[in-house]
Symmetry: D2
């Protein structure tokens, strides 16, 4: 089974992005833990135009069986397994190229939303069993994270591949949260990048198991 996993690079006030850090660490760990998996990873720029080009290019050149997008969800205290991507780009701040779509559809011809085609509940259940805090989420926002999730699912729907696609939001890294503490008493929630990597491995393991089992009811 071949899986494409993407994280994101730094943006805005964040000089590091734990999604990109974790995805960068994933190949070495996955090679040991999931030897049968063919893993392709990329760190996408926080740019609507360039992220789209890179993602669609990878989907077409690699033709993965599954696509798992990973992105930073500041404020999250656990892994958020996203269940819905909406056909909307509505950015509160410009992306790294200065583009700021407001109330624009991602694809004017596309449906209003796609549900994740990863087995989202099985993933949450397994993550918790393995001691990694995780929960379902029903909104991936309206910035880059929702954008690549929608693009992956839209591509899957129109072209037939990847067969499965979904998205995982990760907390700030401990290092980021520690550096963001503006005063003595406040600090945002966070998770170690090591735990995020362990969590992504679980996501991949569940996806691989379902793929190999040929299970139809994959999304739950």
């Amino acid at each position: 089974m071949k899986v494409l996993v993407t994280g994101f690079g730094p943006y805005g006030g964040y000089s590091e992005n734990p999604s990109g850090e974790a995805v960068g660490l994933l190949p070495e760990v996955a090679a040991k833990e999931l030897p049968g998996l063919e893993l392709v990873t990329a760190v996408l720029p926080v740019s609507f135009r360039r992220a789209r080009e890179e993602l669609l290019g990878l989907l077409d050149s690699e033709r993965p069986d599954a696509y798992v997008g990973v992105g930073l969800g500041p404020g999250a205290a656990h892994l958020r397994i996203e269940r819905v991507a909406v056909n909307l780009a509505d950015a509160r701040t410009p992306d790294e190229d200065g583009e700021q779509p407001v109330d624009e559809p991602i694809d004017p011809e596309g449906p209003a939303a796609y549900f994740s085609t990863l087995p989202v509940k099985a993933i949450v259940r397994r993550l918790r069993e393995e001691g990694i805090p995780a929960a379902l989420s029903y909104s991936a926002g309206t910035f880059l994270c929702n954008y690549v999730m929608y693009l992956g699912l839209h591509h899957s729907s129109r072209r037939g591949y990847p067969l499965r696609a979904g998205f995982v939001h990760v907390p700030l890294s401990h290092r980021q949260a520690a550096s963001l503490g503006r005063d003595w008493s406040g600090i945002p929630p966070s998770m170690s990048v090591e735990t995020v990597v362990r969590g992504l491995l679980v996501v991949l393991r569940v996806a691989v198991e379902r793929f190999e089992a040929g299970d139809e009811r994959v999304t739950v």
Copy 2:
């Protein structure tokens, strides 16, 4: 320098207590990282009577230079370095012996409060520099955590030892939080026990450095 560090055992609905787990892991790690430190650790029962007996017994038998209490703060998303202990026991639930003091002073002859005599701001600053999320807190509650913090500082004030005392609240462990997820969308904040151990090492390192430097303004 000799330091007493205590955690707590299981209580109420919590079959594990990450404070006790972390304190249990501390000696092996501290032996490597802080070889000059004489470390005494204990896991106290969540019982007002027995925790008091064990703590006061250890303070008198070991006569440590410093005492660091550690306890679980459900809801915390980072290490909370407590700055104030109050002369009040007011339990929402019974302790493990069925005792439930309500609106009772810890010591009718004691002062209303003690400030931590650990260098609390230096500890928060160093924790953040080392990428461990931490913040000051001004309330350790009115259950066992505040109780042992008050007892340690009261003992220090009356007997002259330990010279320094304070308390650290730690989040739920990832494993606990994962098991507490009652539905698909909710889960409390948490931290890995490994990160808690690394944090406690930083607390000890700062305390040792200050102790060896003989710095007077130790509490900031």
Copy 3:
């Protein structure tokens, strides 16, 4: 202009439902403040089957120009103007008839989602200008609230009326939150029912203004 506004009745552990309370108070206030508005209100049962029957019955018998669903969002601290309804019923608890759909589509033939066709950003802007805390939300959950929002928009899409539909989540009432305080230190966020009624009036006023202006770009 004719508008249908629905709230919900009590359910689960909530002996009162502020959405139903507020909708019950709305006609008298709206008669004074929005004299040109023809307002139809109903309090729906927290039952998938009966709520569907009552709502579709009202939409067909009253043929309103707009439909505004209102429901309780425990945990909300402000009015949440919902922007997306998804084709999913996934109940954590049974409804008042004991039905508990899990991972079921609301309509197997329907699209994955609908965007609200109320002017959601104009509504949030106006609410804030009038001193009422409000924000956009991108998930109405997967219980009754999302259900009636999806049904209203689906009906609009297939039958052509109501022209506009959307949903507002409201906080617990002060009275509810006060009664839910389980111990001395904790209590969930809440809002007075009077403030909710004032907020719903603003929602209706913006909807009426847009309707009368014939503005095309109504959803923003």
Copy 4:
């Protein structure tokens, strides 16, 4: 019975202060609802030096039986009845006169803390019974709110009057929260000033009842 109630004026980024607004509205309402109460109110400046002067001046000139300080607690979603004031001024930002004490005692000769001498649990219980969200709090911070609470209790302890003193933290007003909404999706918790006024009346009513009953166990 004579009670002094103080709120605060605007400070920092807050052009309004709901504590001062509510205290300004209190006399007219209290005249109707608590006719036997002699009420003195003042809005203190957010300045350590001037707040101290005004408060101590009022305590000495008015010699009230009780003192209730009221202040803004940004982030609070309910009335917080403070139980502890600590002998510490530690400001994250300068006050309105540009003074910024850091790690300074309020009175180098004073005790580390005072417990509120208002019947704090009876107040929380009554507030909840009357449908007003309230809870105990064990930290009034280390800025002006804790400062006036400590000063009031310190004065009471040394001079014998007021007999009772305490502090109430109130949420942002709805108007403030609405104006602070920085983007479409986020807004801090808040409460209407009318509800705050109703809550303060309950605080005064409980205090008066206890005073008239001569109840000894007043603080619980």
